[in-house]
Subunit: 191 residues, 2 copies
């Protein structure tokens, strides 16, 4: 079960979500994954366990909601003046995150407690949103650019697949840059 | 904890693994995921629960081992006479499997109980093995072919990313064929 659609920001429901997320993050840091239980989280957040069960269903689904929230980008990707620089900047930072043990744990947690696919969908939508910002800037500069689907398929997907199934590339930065080069020099449709 | 390295095939350890796997598959069919417990699996397999805990650690890790075993290819990819036909045949079948609810559940189970990455690594190695068979045949025919890494990055990774994070492509076959065409017509190094 995913959290219900957001209600008024600042309302009780939003406050509960925030305090439960904070409790999970703190307890993960203090006790690690195996020390976590719903009663512990509820006590730290100052809510009843049944509030947590009602809203998230299980601990796994709560962990998934927290993980995907931590994957939410804090700001738009930096404008470095060219499509290539912007894509390389974003892709190397995304590669470092997904290849790190914490990043891998977030991706796995996102998938593990996501029965309806909505949390993994949010995760892909965050990446797509950042890429679309970069591509709109390129269009405004008059640069020839790939579409967002091409970047998702040929930059994001290989980075995520490597992180999840192949223990990450040995050189995350170089690998991310080579994927960007492939998209820019081989996969942009000819004019 | 992953199962210990295989011992003599036909030995006690191999027999236990087989009967526990069979028990999990039967119980998944009969009761679904949420009805499964280690004592139930052990009873069906005719072993003690402690045998299961000792060997797999947790139910999640057992489910991961069973899931990746079901992803193991039963036979080499069919030889259809050309690199393009072989890759399309394999990729469309892989796309259908990963996009199906059962295939998605296997990928998620593989990742969920895989603390050291060995099960997800086996999953990637199975795909790589099938691809290498196809590429060796192409080389024997004298066809120009991509390397296996290119096929993993630009065919397998987008299929898996779509299945796990984007609810699968609406047309798995057409999508798989378009990825194969991209690799064959855009990503093979020029001679």
């Amino acid at each position: 079960m995913s959290p219900r659609p957001a209600v008024r920001p600042g309302g009780r429901s939003a406050r509960v979500r925030q305090s439960v997320h904070t409790a999970v993050r703190e307890l993960l840091q203090e006790r690690g994954r195996d020390g976590l239980t719903v009663p512990l989280v509820a006590a730290r957040a100052g809510v009843t366990p049944s509030t947590v069960y009602r809203r998230w269903g299980t601990l796994r689904e709560l962990l998934s909601d927290v993980a995907v929230e931590r994957l939410r980008p804090g700001s738009p990707p930096e404008d470095l003046g060219s499509l290539r620089a912007d894509l390389e900047g974003w892709a190397t930072s995304f590669a470092q995150q997904t290849a790190s043990p914490a990043g891998q744990a977030r991706l796995r947690d996102t998938l593990a407690g996501d029965p309806d696919g909505s949390n993994s969908g949010r995760c892909a939508a965050y990446a797509a949103g950042q890429i679309e910002t970069i591509l709109s800037r390129a269009a405004a500069r008059g640069e020839r650019a790939p579409d967002a689907e091409t970047v998702l398929d040929h930059v994001v997907a290989p980075l995520v697949y490597r992180a999840l199934f192949r223990q990450g590339p040995p050189d995350a930065d170089g690998y991310a840059r080579s994927l960007v080069a492939t998209v820019l020099y081989r996969l942009i449709p000819l004019p």
